[in-house]
């Protein structure tokens, strides 16, 4: 980084970072990472003009800049607001933000079918993730939900408009990645829908990318439809020589069968590069691809559960806590077996002939010691 370039200092939830002028609050937060990063349902880095619509990334600007430290009166869409030098932003530390975000999640869900059990997107759905973190546990919407008829947009893509949250990403893909747009937003307000007006197939070479950008299960891959839950498949980095696109994909395996091909997504769920329809829909044989190795999946994702050892997945790490924590002992964690008699480590549950009963857990010998409990100090931390 050259010395002359003036960087802007921005503080988000108490963490200060220096970013290039012109960076949005969202992208500054992504540079910090973790909880500080607001969720984004409509913004997509690769798509020009995207963002600003879903309102899930609203944040509070507690100080506009060092020069003008007045707070901004309204919450702002972090994906479309650029940082100023000395700006102070509150995301999860702002009650207003959390309340507004809970409201937005509720708005997004009132007309969403919540048909996750039969939705191909389940397990990799941004709306699912969002509602787990920010949603309420019950709906207050007592009315019939809005529904639309399902449409096949040609042989490869199914449009399930009822699930759509109107992020506009697929429209931007058609505008910016393909050379001809045949679908768009029709009607307005709560009647607005993604459609072609008259029955038309989306058949451009790159139109399959609308599936990857769709944050919900509104646009799904017909060649993968109902084949498998995504968490039963393993994403593998693969490539091939393709005359149309980069040919770099994630091939989703079940056993040694490729069930699905998608673009390679980064940690924010955005594809690294667009791929063509041929790679996506027509190359399902293992012989079509050069396999590079397992793809990284966020360890919190349901897809990662139990698939891999090593750096991906939830395999128990080998290092003791004291090493990971640079010599300190964790004060929040305790050995559950010191207070509970259920599921002792020496008992192999799968070896039992039926469901486990309390009689299967023999009472421990009384050692005369007090069982280890959470210390007063850590109770305070927990509370």
């Amino acid at each position: 980084m050259s010395e002359e370039k003036k960087l802007f200092k921005v503080t988000i939830d108490g963490i200060t970072i220096e970013v290039e002028p012109g960076t949005t609050i969202l992208n500054a937060a992504r540079q910090i990472g973790g909880e500080v990063t607001p969720p984004a349902m409509c913004y997509y880095t690769k798509l020009k003009n995207s963002g600003g619509k879903c309102r899930t990334c609203l944040v509070e600007v507690a100080a506009g800049s060092a020069a003008d430290p007045r707070p901004m009166p309204k919450l702002v869409a972090s994906c479309r607001t650029t940082v100023m030098d000395g700006m102070v932003v509150k995301n999860t530390t702002s009650e207003r933000v959390l309340d507004a975000r809970e409201g937005v999640v509720e708005f997004l869900l009132i007309n969403h079918p919540i048909d996750c059990p039969i939705c191909d997107q389940a397990g990799e759905c941004d709306l699912q993730d969002l509602s787990y973190v920010h949603g309420a546990d019950a709906s207050r919407f007592d009315f019939e939900k809005r529904t639309f008829v399902k449409h096949n947009l040609g042989p490869y893509i199914q449009l399930h408009m009822t699930r759509c949250i109107m992020c506009y990403r697929c429209v931007y893909v058609a505008d910016q990645v393909t050379n001809k747009r045949v679908h768009g937003i029709l009607e307005r307000g709560d009647k607005a829908e993604i459609a072609t007006y008259i029955e038309k197939a989306l058949d451009n070479d790159f139109i399959g990318n609308v599936i990857d950008v769709c944050p919900v299960g509104a646009l799904t891959d017909r060649t993968f439809r109902f084949k498998s839950r995504v968490w039963f498949t393993k994403p593998v980095k693969a490539h091939r020589d393709c005359s149309k696109c980069c040919g770099k994909v994630h091939a989703w395996f079940r056993g040694d069968e490729i069930l699905r091909v998608t673009g390679r997504k980064d940690q924010w769920g955005e594809v690294e590069d667009w791929i063509c329809n041929e790679c996506r829909f027509e190359k399902k044989s293992i012989h079509d691809w050069v396999i590079e190795g397992p793809a990284e999946i966020n360890r919190h994702s349901v897809i990662s559960q139990g698939h891999y050892s090593g750096k991906v997945g939830t395999t128990k790490p080998n290092e003791p806590f004291s090493k990971v924590m640079k010599g300190r002992q964790p004060n929040l964690l305790m050995d559950i077996h010191s207070v509970s008699e259920v599921n002792p480590p020496e008992l192999d549950l799968s070896a039992l002939p039926g469901p486990a009963h309390s009689t299967d857990f023999p009472k421990r010998k009384d050692t005369g010691e007090e069982p280890l409990t959470i210390s007063e100090k850590s109770k305070g931390r927990l509370g």
Binding site: G52, R55, A77, V104, I110, M166, I185, R188, G189, A192
Partner: protein
């Protein structure tokens, strides 16, 4: 009697046409501005006048004009917002229908001040007969040398075109208007950038309301300082009020913002009192988006002072006990009107007019409409009132454009001031469709819920 600056000549026969308009002092302001003033001087004069946007927001016009970017070689545009669609508001239509030359005159001066050689009037599609009136006035002005090339030998060229919308309230929002003018769906843009930097076709643009642009004519004729002396405080000049609802004389009135609300409603010069000898129950003083006020808070502020028809006085007390002058759409409800039903029609209106782009507005306006319909038709529950409050609260301030606020405020104010009427609906499901019940203690002091 109040001063009249806009409608003073409206009753002269033939004033709609050029000859009568010119004979009665028309186009003198263009002559003065183009021959004796520089664009900067005109902007200064408008600043001095204290003229505020008459579309509803009340933003100082001169200040707005001074924001326009002037990059080298990029054309700039003035766009006249004639998409008058706020329920209760019909003043711009009156101006355009009866005094088209006043608007054209204001447009020429403002175009000169802003450097707009191509100026558009964007008019709501439903006013389908008015473009002809405006186009005829434009043709007359052009034939007499007030428009076209090298106007009055100053070297300034200007053309004015009229373009019709096609039915969308949202196009009254200035960036949605610009999208519509570009032939697109009326989705408001995400700001910044503001139109003054990137407006029509990405060029610097100023969008002003019809009445604002017409008011530029008296500002130039009499000078900014003299204009600022009319009215009171930061409410300078005159304002058109379109009065409707249960009053004896609905119509468009020009007021000088020093008269009281009581005088406006009861004086023979203006509304002429409540129709059919009934009593005043409530009023939405500035177009459907602004908070409804019960009679007691309308005529007097919470402090017991007389409330006046101007920006400051109408908003005295904030949203807890006050409202806004807004667009000047003055809707009066008599004692027999049902606030719940009225609020329901407004919620339905906003649901119908939401562009659908952002989630709180798209889903929230739908939800409010459905809950209000239930309450109005006797299917509501007590908890629905709190839910309604919560829904409007989570729309307000969280949307791309002000339509979300506009939809939330009327619902909030109706619950705030008429909660017992909502509860009555819930408690009397069989009776609530009978409309003539009236809220007995409408004029009593009402406890304020914040």
């Amino acid at each position: 009697m109040g001063v009249k600056l806009l409608l003073d000549k409206v009753h002269i026969e033939g004033i709609r046409y050029y000859d009568a308009y010119r004979k009665n002092g028309g186009y003198a302001a263009v002559e003065k501005a183009l021959k004796t003033m520089s664009p900067e001087l005109i902007v200064d004069e408008v600043k001095k006048s204290g003229l505020r946007g008459r579309g509803g927001a009340g933003f100082p016009t001169g200040l707005k004009w001074s924001f326009i970017a002037k990059p080298e070689g990029v054309p700039r545009h003035l766009v006249c917002n004639a998409d008058e669609s706020e329920p209760g508001t019909f003043k711009d239509r009156y101006l355009m229908e009866f005094l088209p030359h006043l608007l054209i005159e204001g447009l020429i001066i403002s175009s000169f001040a802003l450097g707009s050689n191509v100026t558009f009037i964007y008019i709501r599609g439903e006013y389908a007969w008015i473009p002809e009136i405006l186009e005829q006035a434009i043709a007359e002005a052009k034939a007499n040398g007030w428009l076209g090339k090298n106007i009055l030998g100053t070297g300034f060229d200007c053309e004015i075109y009229v373009q019709r919308g096609a039915g969308a309230y949202i196009c009254g929002e200035e960036t949605a208007l610009l999208e519509s003018l570009e032939g697109k769906r009326g989705n408001p843009r995400i700001k910044p950038p503001f139109p003054a930097v990137k407006g029509l076709w990405d060029r610097p643009t100023v969008v002003n309301n019809v009445e604002t642009l017409a008011a530029v004519v008296p500002v130039i004729n009499m000078g900014g300082e003299a204009y600022a002396k009319i009215g009171v405080g930061r409410s300078t000049g005159t304002k058109l009020i379109s009065a409707c609802g249960n009053i004896n004389k609905p119509g468009v009135y020009e007021i000088d913002m020093t008269i009281s609300v009581e005088e406006f409603i009861y004086s023979e010069t203006y509304c002429g009192g409540i129709a059919k000898g009934k009593r005043l129950k409530a009023c939405i003083p500035g177009g459907s988006s602004v908070p409804i006020l019960p009679a007691n808070l309308l005529l007097k502020t919470a402090k017991g002072e007389t409330r006046y028809m101007n920006y400051e006085s109408l908003s005295d007390g904030g949203f807890a006990t006050g409202s806004m002058l807004g667009s000047g759409g003055f809707i009066v409800l008599d004692e027999d009107q049902c606030v719940v039903r009225h609020t329901y029609t407004l919620a339905r209106f906003y649901r119908h007019e939401s562009c659908g782009q952002c989630s709180p507005c798209r889903e929230g306006t739908l939800w409010m409409d459905k809950i209000l319909k239930n309450i109005e038709t006797g299917k509501g529950k007590k908890k629905d009132i709190d839910l309604l409050w919560d829904v409007q609260r989570r729309i307000e301030g969280n949307t791309i454009c002000p339509l979300g606020d506009a939809a939330a405020w009327p619902v909030a104010a109706a619950i705030r001031h008429f909660r017992d009427e909502f509860e009555w609906h819930v408690d009397h499901p069989d009776e609530c469709l009978k409309r003539n019940f009236g809220l007995a203690h409408y004029a009593d002091p009402i406890e304020v819920v914040t």
